[in-house]
Symmetry: C2
Subunit: 509 residues, 2 copies
């Protein structure tokens, strides 16, 4: 059966129209969320949340509509499916998966959930500002409760938490993740201990002081441009919790948060979100306005933010090139600092309370704590009320420090307020993916390190576009990493990378 | 039949749900438009416009759906209608009118039109920037063509242009407007001539110079606060063409445009939009999320912007109080200027090219030109291509000056790029409504002028809230002005006000 056959092209056309419309609604909802986080007036949030609930419910309704069911049934018939091009085939596959998931959720329940999460993000912001976990707990309890009910409806995989993991990293299991995290722990904990014992502590006093906010903003923008971020297809704003959002492939927005006393927080935050944004800006045009026009998994998405933030942004070569420009933005404040000293200063390893400010090594411990807590919430029915206690205890055990307040502890991350349970592991997966990709990039581009050290970041960006970005969701994460490196995801690349990096910085034996 | 009867309450409930959802979609679309005008990345506009088209089409579909038709039929049955409360009855009435209008437009046609106007606003911005009328004309031709077809579908009232007028000022006719504008012309043109001959020309040289943008912004915000604008239920941004938009009653946003060389442009622009915003922020809570939660007509809406901008913002008393604060924002720049001199300087009457910068008197001539041109477009089939020539000729006739470029001529206003033909008369209607309201306010609050002169603007705001704002669309414009002043709209109040004001400023006999 040829795809020119009208009987075949007609359901495809209607399917494309329907999925296109859903994507357009999601684009608009994305803008509303962006606005809520970057400056929507406080008093308007309540009515806005209701409006978001209404449009989300409509989008959800479309995704589970009888029309969608009929179209998918038609398009999944072997002879018709065989006639589809590669994009359409993958589109049908992804939409079918979504359909099967969503139709198990009663629409009213979904709508209530959307209104809840939309309000609870504001509640979280307020709770964090006032160190008021009790004020946030009613929201959190409801969100956890909804999530538990969703898991029931979707069907429990090996464990309830496996059901959540699969949403962010398709195919990943707690078994696999326990193994990967176990391997990381085995090599990284001894590394952290050797570092703690090292007498060669880098100085980083020059990173704190008074750093003009406008200069921070200017330099952040400069680096984004160097990475190839297109400001005509995006913008940089401020929000409490930095994020990137691809509204459409030509409107991919970043936010950051400037701390006047801290030189690196906004800078590395911006590079991080910039990595996410490069991914979304460089998806091929053919995928625009389809559900495939986004990252293929959260782990792969985080690999791009973490790759740019850490493997490029915290590399010696990068600062050999960009330190003079940074000095020019803060005259008189960094005069005596060499590229080598700067590099060592921004790579200090030290147990700390805040995930997004953690070094590359202990960062993975922050993730493991959240992973364990999330497993407890869904596999062992931990009560949200007990989160602060569990959180503080685990920080004490794993990092040796106890948060002095919930604002610096369990309230620090936005994720749970939006119901994103199962997301956190993506960050460590991202670190592993990124290390594995960088190894492949160095093979393909032998002069890569020299390029970075002379401020030519675009060849790497082009390589990533070719290998990762342009494919959007066309390739699954496992296909992507196999194609790039010839192997499934490994923990070894990340461990090798970190050992080499810190051996040098801490002069380890 | 009691309203507690389940057979009666059920259609009402569904009707409320449906109109509520439409209002929510409009709220979200309003946010998208706000974003497009205040900083959305250029490259993203094209896909965004498609998304706007999709959601507008859905909203439109709801407004003309079979369900809506059935509900309205039910709710318009006399016995059921009689059982409705005042809000629901008016809601049914307004929605029925909307339904009757919209169902004549084929949905595909409407969708194409929305995409077109959404793109054409960006095209207009570019055309204005590059003084490129030819680049804008293809858009304009299409918009005019759609509008002409809409008029056919809606049904031509006395003239095709009457059909458009009725949209912005329900019940208003070209006959009535010709009469009102005729009366204005009869008294205001001689006044302008006497002013032109006056030897007492106020000095306004102190209004131009170099005025720090941040200080302008700060002072604009101060005045907005004094007027009672609630910054927790709104925000102030920048856009090429200033506007106010009530997304919901707790999120009413204003934009302005700062000209570094001009002290008054942003200031009076902000007060103008602030007047619109006060209206929307102070609608009673009971109307929230219904189609009645907005101004009752564009003329009444403009009465609030023009009242605050001109009758308050350009009054002597206002500056007797606020000039010291203005001076403090621009140290050394206005030291020698007295309140009296400032008042005279900001009220100079002089033919000029740009409507939004025109004085209160000649402003009405700018409106009359547009009114005549719009009548020609729709009642005499003037071709959009010929607009610059007609525009320039009319400016020469009415104001004695010929625009040196289309950017300063026919391209200056955003309205036509959005298809808002028939809107312009609202500004002069607003002037007339405002003068009539102010006369009533002075009767109710004898100490009004003393209050303004001592910086107490809130009593006037409270009076306007009681008489105008809180009613939203519950009262028709004609009901509103009758209730306030005991009369229908008159031109005399505006003429009296302007004659008195300029007699004083120009020391006329």
């Amino acid at each position: 059966m040829s795809s020119a056959d009208p009987a075949a092209s007609s359901p495809l056309k209607r399917f494309r129209e329907l999925t296109g419309r859903m994507k357009q609604y999601e684009e608009i909802l994305g803008l509303v969320y962006w606005d809520m986080r970057t400056g929507a007036p406080r008093k308007g949030i309540e009515l806005r949340s209701e409006a978001v609930g209404a449009l989300s419910a409509e989008t959800f309704k479309l995704s589970t509509s009888a029309e969608m069911g009929e179209l998918l049934e038609e398009l999944n018939k072997p002879e018709l499916k065989a006639s589809l091009g590669v994009i359409d085939r993958r589109l049908v596959e992804e939409t079918t998966k979504e359909f099967e998931r969503n139709r198990r959720i009663p629409p009213d329940m979904y709508r209530e959930y959307v209104v809840l999460t939309s309000q609870s993000e504001s509640a979280w912001e307020e709770a964090k500002e006032n160190n008021d976990f009790a004020g946030f707990v009613p929201y959190l309890e409801k969100i956890v409760d909804y999530t538990r009910r969703f898991i029931e409806l979707w069907g429990v995989k090996k464990t309830p938490y496996d059901t959540l993991l699969d949403m962010y990293e398709p195919g990943l299991t707690t078994g696999e993740l326990d193994r990967l995290f176990g391997e990381l722990r085995e090599r990284l904990v001894p590394l952290a201990e050797r570092i703690a014992k090292s007498a060669n502590k880098p100085d980083r006093s020059f990173l704190t002081g008074e750093f003009d906010k406008e200069a921070q903003k200017k330099f952040s923008k400069l680096i984004l441009k160097e990475m190839g971020y297109d400001f005509e297809a995006g913008r940089l704003d401020e929000s409490v919790h930095p994020f990137a959002t691809g509204l459409n492939k030509n409107d991919v927005r970043i936010t950051t948060r400037y701390l006047p006393e801290d030189l690196t927080s906004a800078l590395f935050g911006t590079i991080h979100e910039g990595g996410h944004a490069l991914y979304e800006q460089n998806i091929q045009d053919e995928l625009a306005n389809t559900p495939l026009c986004t990252g293929t998994s959260m782990g792969i998405h985080e690999s791009q933010s973490r790759l740019w933030e850490n493997m490029i942004g915290r590399s010696l070569g990068f600062w050999q090139n960009y330190l003079p420009a940074l000095k020019a933005h803060f005259p008189g404040q960094l005069d005596d600092v060499s590229a080598e000293a700067f590099y060592r200063g921004i790579n200090v390893v030290e147990p700390s309370l805040i995930r997004i400010e953690a070094d590359e090594l202990t960062y993975n411990l922050h993730i493991m704590i959240r992973y364990e807590i999330e497993k407890m919430l869904f596999n062992e029915e931990l009560s949200p009320r007990d989160l602060p206690e569990v959180w503080n205890r685990k920080y004490e055990e794993a990092l040796g420090i106890r948060p002095p307040s919930d604002a610096l502890g369990v309230l620090q991350d936005v994720h749970w307020s939006g119901g994103a349970f199962g997301y956190f592991p993506s960050y460590s997966l991202g670190n592993m993916y990124a290390a594995q990709m960088m190894a492949a990039a160095r093979q393909d581009i032998p002069e890569l390190d020299e390029q970075v050290a002379s401020g030519r970041l675009l060849p790497l960006q082009a390589w990533l576009t070719d290998k990762v970005y342009r494919h959007g969701k066309l390739l699954r994460p496992s296909e992507l990493i196999e194609r790039i490196s010839g192997q499934p995801l490994q923990s070894a690349y990340l461990c090798d990378y970190l050992e080499n990096k810190y051996k040098d910085i801490y002069r380890l034996e």
